[in-house]
């Protein structure tokens, strides 16, 4: 209902300068501002309400299982922002998420759904672990070469899916997904062999990689007691570049055309296999970059471990999709997701299972999905009542 009145008043404003040209100029300006507010307000309200409902449901879940919801939320805040050095870790976690999201935006704009970033992240990190523990060179050289290897391996893994898609019509949604499960087994296998990734010491039963030397890790800068890794800047620059390339370059235009209308794109001479395939490879490559940043940024420890991508790929994908494929929005969204991740580390102190963080996250994602959907339905309803009014008038 409120959205209906918002639309109506917006139309009033558009016509009002014509009907009362001189006398009401200042008030019409005021009314315009008010009308703009009236238009934005329902949207904001829908978002606030749906997020509040999601959080309330989580609180209900926590308290019915015997925990304290307030403690959980305060622990989440402590772990992600308030405790010393915490927001530095959050930023360093946001970096790989953002890198994954940036690539997902490229694939998404081309109308392709790469959903196997998790495996691309994992293999990218594995490539970094392989190179960085072997290459004998000055620190910066090792860093650059191993990141390049991570990017290349991530891209290659996505290239498999894109070859399957454009030569054999295998839907990329399913092939990228299945390739993830193969990637886990490849890295787990590599962790059992010393000539691949396994650590030289045999003391632990769990297979771990060799530690990466200190000078081969990404340097960081100190900021108010927080260490921000260079990876964060790399991710932000990458996102900005991708946002620019999509919006302002010819290849970005071709890519968007392919995504918006494949038929038109084909008539305009855009090759779906070339442009789409490239988009998939780029999304894999940025996921590989994310894996490199994750391992070399030092948040998960100093060595490669089994399944170390730990949902970064899935979450990065959700970041991109919730940002509705807009690069600028992906940056704060990645930060929110990273905060939930780092915050969940503090949950064990509250006596609540830390897996509640996954539930909170999924609830928030659902809330953010439902909100625009409700808005859209309301708009449709408003349009319908408007046309009905026109017909009766």
């Amino acid at each position: 209902m409120s959205s209906t009145t918002g639309l109506n008043s917006a139309i009033d404003i558009e016509t009002s300068p014509l009907s009362e040209p001189t006398a009401a100029a200042p008030t019409s300006d005021q009314r315009a501002r008010w009308a703009r507010w009236r238009q934005v307000l329902p949207t904001v309200l829908i978002y606030v309400v749906s997020i509040a409902v999601a959080l309330a449901l989580c609180a209900l879940l926590v308290s019915t299982t015997g925990g304290s919801a307030m403690k959980v939320f305060s622990a989440l805040l402590d772990g992600s922002l308030r405790s010393p050095g915490a927001w530095g870790i959050t930023v360093n976690t946001a970096a790989p998420l953002l890198a994954v999201a940036a690539g997902t935006i490229v694939a998404g704009k081309a109308g392709l759904s790469n959903i196997g970033q998790e495996g691309q992240v994992l293999l990218g990190a594995a490539a970094v672990a392989f190179i960085a523990t072997r290459l004998v060179a000055p620190g910066p050289v090792v860093i650059v070469i191993s990141i390049a290897a991570g990017v290349a391996v991530g891209g290659l893994w996505a290239l498999l899916a894109s070859v399957m898609k454009f030569s054999r019509k295998v839907p990329e949604v399913i092939s990228t997904l299945l390739l993830y499960f193969i990637a886990i087994q490849i890295t787990d296998f590599a962790l059992t062999k010393r000539w691949l990734l396994a650590s030289l010491s045999t003391d632990s039963r769990v297979n771990n990689g060799q530690p990466i030397k200190r000078n081969a890790r990404l340097p960081g800068i100190e900021l108010f007691g927080n260490t921000i890794s260079w990876g964060a800047f790399v991710a932000i620059i990458l996102t900005a570049l991708i946002g620019f390339a999509l919006a302002r370059t010819t290849s970005g235009f071709r890519l968007r055309m392919l995504g918006l209308n494949p038929r038109t794109a084909r008539r305009a001479g855009v090759s779906a296999a070339k442009v789409g395939g490239a988009a998939l490879v780029v999304s894999g490559a940025t996921a590989g970059l994310a894996g490199s940043l994750w391992l070399m940024g030092g948040v998960p420890g100093d060595r490669f471990t089994s399944g170390m991508s730990s949902n970064l790929g899935w979450q990065g994908l959700l970041v991109a999709l919730l940002a509705r494929q807009r690069a600028a929005l992906a940056i704060p969204m990645a930060f929110v997701f990273a905060a939930l991740r780092t915050g969940s580390q503090f949950l064990s102190a509250t006596g609540v299972d830390r897996r509640i963080a996954d539930v909170v996250q999924a609830m928030l994602v659902l809330a953010l999905l439902v909100a625009p959907a409700i808005e859209m339905v309301q708009k449709q309803r408003a349009e319908r009542t408007m046309t009905a009014k026109e017909v009766t008038a």
């Binding site: 299982t65 996954d358 409700i374």
Partner: protein, 311 residues
């Protein structure tokens, strides 16, 4: 090479291979039938994994609450349906991207079931094995098909039922129409989104039943994150089968066979690389899709959201 061939032959001629193949496949066949119905209506449910997992957990919950397997089964079906309700409503009423919804629901299901499992720790009463006399002594496949838990036997009426519903009823015709040409369906008076929602619900019911089988029939307990991506093989099975029912079932059985291979090899005293065996069903699924996806014709509007109006 000869030794390897001999090993394969020994495995293939033993009835226990087929029995354990069925134990892995049944879950997949249940889910794949549902997914097949959903894909014929033009939707792809990534959330089938979440549906199975939720079904597996709620089945454990129902069994824990009442100690009755039937109630557990019902709970499992309802759990799968619940996930499909969210999936269907969000993606085919509110037109939210179905892959996003599916992925989120998978994350949600993994998190919620793991969390609740740790809180409640349901104890499960497994279904007993029901041996059908006569049929069970058919060589090779008798034990696989007729000396299993009775939950598996629900497949046998379900398969023809699904076939009949999709190919021989008005509802099924409309469902396939919605998958092939939703605009035409819309013009002829079919509520496209509603049919698609119903297809997703059917998928949820079937996947929930599969989940219930996992808990009550196959493992006899619920383990958090036990599915670990196996549900996605149901999606591959539908492509393997070229969007036909019998092909889909063949796909599910094939992938189940490759899952069973590890334990079968072990039972025969052969050693094989653990990682290779775990990856095998996924590798085979990809290879199968490379062969079959190109040749078969998928539903024309598969994975394409329906928006009323000009296209």
């Amino acid at each position: 090479m000869i030794a390897f061939g001999g090993a394969i032959w020994e495995v293939l001629k033993s009835g226990s291979t087929y029995a354990s193949t069925m134990r892995y496949s049944t879950l997949l066949v249940f889910a794949a039938i549902g997914e097949w119905v959903a894909e014929r209506a033009g939707t792809i449910n990534i959330s089938v994994e979440g549906m199975i997992l939720t079904g597996a957990f709620t089945a454990a919950l129902g069994s824990d609450l009442t100690g009755n397997i039937w109630v557990g089964l019902l709970f499992g079906v309802l759990g799968g349906f619940l996930v499909s309700y969210v999936q269907g409503t969000l993606s085919h009423r509110f037109n939210t991207n179905q892959f996003v919804v599916g992925l989120t629901l998978n994350v949600f299901a993994v998190g919620l079931t793991a969390f609740l499992d740790a809180q409640i720790e349901p104890s499960v009463k497994a279904a007993g094995i029901l041996r059908i006399p006569g049929l069970a002594s058919i060589p090779l496949i008798g034990r696989a098909l007729f000396a299993q838990t009775w939950i598996q036997y629900m497949l046998y009426p379900l398969i023809p039922l699904a076939w009949w519903a999709v190919y021989r009823t008005r509802w099924g015709l409309e469902l396939r129409c919605v998958g092939e040409n939703p605009q035409a369906g819309d013009v002829s008076g079919i509520d496209v989104s509603k049919r698609r929602r119903q297809a997703v619900f059917v998928c949820g019911l079937c996947a929930g039943l599969g989940g219930a089988y996992l808990t009550l029939g196959q493992t006899g307990s619920f383990t958090a994150n036990s599915l670990n991506g196996r549900g996605f093989l149901a999606l591959a099975a539908v492509i393997f089968g070229g969007w036909t029912l019998k092909g889909t079932i063949a796909g599910a059985l094939t992938f189940g066979f490759f899952q069973a291979l590890g334990s079968v090899f072990q039972a025969h005293g052969y050693k094989a690389n653990a990682q290779l065996l775990t990856a095998l069903p996924y590798v085979m699924a990809l290879l199968a899709m490379l062969v079959f996806a190109y040749r078969s014709r998928q539903p024309n509007a598969l994975a394409r959201p329906f928006v009323r109006g000009l296209t």
